[in-house]
């Protein structure tokens, strides 16, 4: 299931409806040391459709999404035997403790809030990229 180190690029699915956030995330992940390919889904339904035919190595998931909410997407991923091993990082503007606790209960692998300042947001996505692409052993 996993790749030998330094061969195939890491497949990342980014589920995000905000164009600016997509741009910032793509920019940050391009700077990561490990080669990666980012697929973008603009809403929850598109994410699930993508997941029907792909098993990415890592998922970055916004919570407030058109068509199908991120919480619902998370729940379905973690209930799916084929997908539940994939780390899902929730990246959202919601600071609500209810969302944090619920996401962890639904087995989100990490919860990161989007800072409003784009420079700080870029730093956060860089940190996500560094940790998950360089430090963590992905499945």
């Amino acid at each position: 299931m996993s790749r030998p180190p330094h061969t195939a690029p890491i497949d990342v699915l980014l589920v995000e409806d905000d164009g600016n956030d997509v741009e910032l995330t793509l920019h940050a992940l391009q700077g990561a040391k490990l080669r990666n390919v980012v697929h973008v889904a603009r809403d929850g339904a598109e994410a699930l459709e993508f997941l029907q035919s792909h098993v990415p190595d890592l998922i970055l998931l916004d919570l407030n999404l058109p068509k199908l909410d991120g919480r619902e997407v998370l729940e379905r991923i973690k209930a799916d035997e084929r997908l539940r091993h994939i780390p899902v990082i929730v990246v959202t503007s919601s600071q609500a403790e209810e969302d944090v606790a619920k996401s962890y209960r639904l087995n989100a692998n990490a919860y990161v809030t989007k800072p409003i300042d784009p420079a700080v947001f870029l730093k956060a996505v860089n940190a996500i990229g560094q940790f998950w692409l360089e430090i963590v052993k992905l499945p």
Binding site: M1, E97, A101, Y104, A110, Y111, Q130, F131, I135, K137
Partner: protein, 147 residues
């Protein structure tokens, strides 16, 4: 980003190797976010700590768990499985920190809903760097659930 909370972050390290315990302490000492490191050296003690049983009645509930896989008495996989099945504990992020590079351990850990799987480098400096990276990501970037 996690706020610089007044309350320090409580970290539970489950690790039987004294050298690795010492290095982890060393790496966390310089963390920018205030934290308290608690140590349990086998799987049975780790669960007793988390359930506040016996001598652990007064301990705080950890905000983050660093879990070795190969442990005495009860192995890390079982500890992980019990944490993620227990309503009061399952929201706590568990980072597996192990020497095992076995693909089977990696996949099984993620299936049991480990939050992240990190292999311990043999080299001391690399080990410190990895623990610092864990600290930076989980204490400075992630929002932990702290009701």
């Amino acid at each position: 980003m996690s706020p610089l909370a007044a309350k320090p972050i409580e970290i539970l390290l489950v690790e039987d190797n004294p050298g690795d315990v010492r290095l982890t302490k060393e790496a966390l000492k310089d963390a920018r976010v205030a934290n308290n490191l608690h140590i349990t050296i086998d799987g049975v003690e780790a669960l007793a700590f988390l359930r506040k049983q016996g001598k652990h009645a007064a301990v705080p509930r950890p905000d983050l768990i660093l879990l070795d896989l190969n442990l005495p008495k009860k192995n890390g996989r079982e500890v992980l499985e019990e944490i993620k099945k227990e309503e009061a504990l399952r929201h706590i992020p568990v980072v597996i920190l192990t020497t095992s590079q076995a693909e089977q351990d990696v996949v099984e850990s993620y299936r049991l809903q480990a939050n992240a799987y990190v292999t311990k480098p043999v080299d001391l400096d690399q080990f410190l760097k990895v623990v610092s990276s864990i600290e930076q990501f989980w204490l400075e970037i992630v929002k932990l659930s702290r009701p």
